[in-house]
Symmetry: C4
Subunit: 237 residues, 4 copies
């Protein structure tokens, strides 16, 4: 095993533990993966393994066809969904999946999360997208792969790092980023955004989304060439 | 005392502590039991004992008539409910009871929890059932036993491991499983499902339940002969 | 100082810390007292003191006229409210006050909490009562004493141990019991009841309260001569 | 560096950590500053630095023009907002900013928080004010400074220590006080107030705010010359 993959497995393991610690998941219902772009290999959480005993060595390596390359455990049953995202979005380095309550409420209600405030605009450059429901044939055969495909279908013409997550209708959120830590951070902020949107819609059901300029401002002060949030030296790393 | 019952008492004690740690119960309002099918003996939490001092030795053993077989404490006042379930559902090995807030809200509102997403379908093969209210005569005499009976009445023609829990109208949830740990896990997921259904119904009050194929798919990938979630070796144990 | 009062001060201190640990209060917004009936002396939390540094020695002793009998700190500003309750309800031995969110929502909305389930009936033998608002003269002069008086006014003809708490309109809950620990337990369960009633009223706004027999059954299995919940030896202590 | 500024930096660091511990912020989305009035220097959290590694030495010192006077990290991107508040409100010594969920819901819905109970009146002498939305030109150029200016605009004729916080429309709460600890305490109580107002408005959508006398009474028993809440010696310090 090469040192680089050891590092990836450690980052993926750490991000899975962070996802569990954040309170976003219950039992084993969630998973984080990371990708090695040079080798086209995905490092992912094993299926149904309890978080409190998860170690970097348990992380499973699979290729883009879903074959296990290394590891003695079965990979997450959602692995084909992750692979579809890596194949379609070359910009991303990691994917996280949770059933966090507020984001899942929107997914179950088949509603996008409108951008109602600057916390949202800090992370998502527009509403949090929603996929369509899968049709019967897509469920019966290749369900997890097709879950990835309806996400990709929804992102036609969309830059995935400007909208770093999605609600799968009737299911829950998937988020992504350049690193496993970033994908989990986005899952965490998405849950917070969803909760605040939920409450805002109670207080003002007809609330219009935030205006263009403020959405633009908040997203751009954290992302892209004109970003000025955070520490320079961190960005240079 | 035989070693096997010691093991059962330890599993029941551990599951009761897990129930307390999960935040599903307040004070002493909850209980978990397990059954020894060969001897028809139930191991159950003593009544009104604080969780932080509960030890395996405090677990009370009762027979199917409710007589204490071993133990110096009184068994949970809900013991007759548990016994009715063990008598009617030979498939189950453990029962858990909590007053967790969201599941109890549905029980108090006398509403089943519709299957609105895949988190639900992962565990319940349909809506979470609701019992009828007890009539006055059932309350006055044999209240706890009759609570078990209205549950059993509701499950006529239903496989209890496909719908591993119920809402007792005006009271709260009971869940079950093959082991005490499984019954508590189901209580925990049920609360999460109830919270997400609650929010989904706020966002879309007329929301239709999930379609047949996706319900089928999610339940079957975790349960029955075609299950592929989790680790093979765990299932073989 | 007599040993008995030391014991009372320790019980009051412990109950105040338990109230803080339970998450029912924010900052210093809450207090618990206990009474020595033989001497008509109240032991109460000092005003505005942080919970993490509270010791039994800080508990202030006051007589029924509100004069400090012992202690170097000022007693809680709510002391006159507690004293009114001790004078009017000879059955009670302790009082707790919190601004816990769900109970306070009902107090602020000037709504009693209807008995919608057995968790409620386990503790309150009917709806959680609500006081009237104080009129201007009652606020300007003797505000805290008058807060106690509107509670007492509301309990005319009511047995305070059968309804061991109240919502003061526009303010929040007061609870009581035979011991400081019991008053805090009731504050804790009241918050849980309020949260579940809140959610039930969302799911079914016109929900009718629980029937007489089931209310009677649940209250009586925990309270009074026919109680059978909990351990005999505990009750005998 | 003078000892006084070291003390300020320590108070600011401690208050930032307290804000993080209180659960009011997610990730790095929040900041607390304090001001040295003699030198017109602001001590503020560095931008985008994780709370678990924050030390007093990391706190950045800036003057009222926003120039860094001391520190090797970039100051919070919200620094110009803080400076506007210090320039306009000579009474205040510290400012805190969070994206706490319930206060942010009101900010996003563009609703003031009405005074619905005594918990609110203990801290805010009237409704929690709301700013107007910034217009496009204010967003594009000098966004953070203009955020401070719309707050100041809203407080024309208002004593800032009688209403120690504000909701910035579409953004979230800013709070202030005489010390960094006080600004954070207010942020914490504001979130609690917002949550309880939210629930009260569900239970009684047309709820009228609390009457003048009780609002007056509660605010004055904690603030100003006739305050009698808390310990004398603490106030004298």
């Amino acid at each position: 095993m090469t040192p680089m993959l050891t590092e990836l497995k450690e980052a993926v393991c750490k991000a899975n533990l962070e996802l569990a610690r954040s309170g976003l998941i219950i039992l084993t219902f969630g998973n984080v993966s990371g990708v090695d772009r040079r080798r086209s290999i995905v490092a992912i959480k094993p299926s149904g393994v309890a978080y409190d005993s998860l170690k970097a060595d348990d992380i499973v390596l699979v290729d883009f066809e879903g074959n296990v390359v290394e590891g003695w455990l079965s990979p997450s049953s959602d692995t084909p969904t992750h692979i579809e995202l890596y194949k379609a979005f070359p910009q991303i380095g990691a994917v996280a999946h949770a059933h966090s309550p507020y984001a899942t409420m929107f997914a179950q209600a088949e509603r996008e999360i409108p951008c109602l405030g600057t916390t949202h605009a800090d992370l998502f450059h527009g509403p949090v997208p929603l996929t369509r429901l899968l049709v019967e044939a897509e469920v019966v055969e290749g369900y997890e792969r097709n879950t990835g495909r309806v996400i990709v279908e929804r992102f036609a013409g969309v830059e995935p790092l400007e909208l770093p997550g999605v609600l799968v209708a009737g299911h829950g959120p998937f988020t992504w980023g350049r690193t496993p830590a970033e994908a989990v951070e986005t899952a965490f902020v998405l849950e917070h955004i969803a909760k605040m949107a939920f409450g805002t819609m109670f207080l003002d059901p007809g609330r219009a989304p935030l205006d263009g300029p403020i959405l633009e401002k908040h997203f751009r002060r954290k992302h892209g060439p004109e970003a000025y949030y955070g520490q320079k030296k961190e960005k240079d790393q």
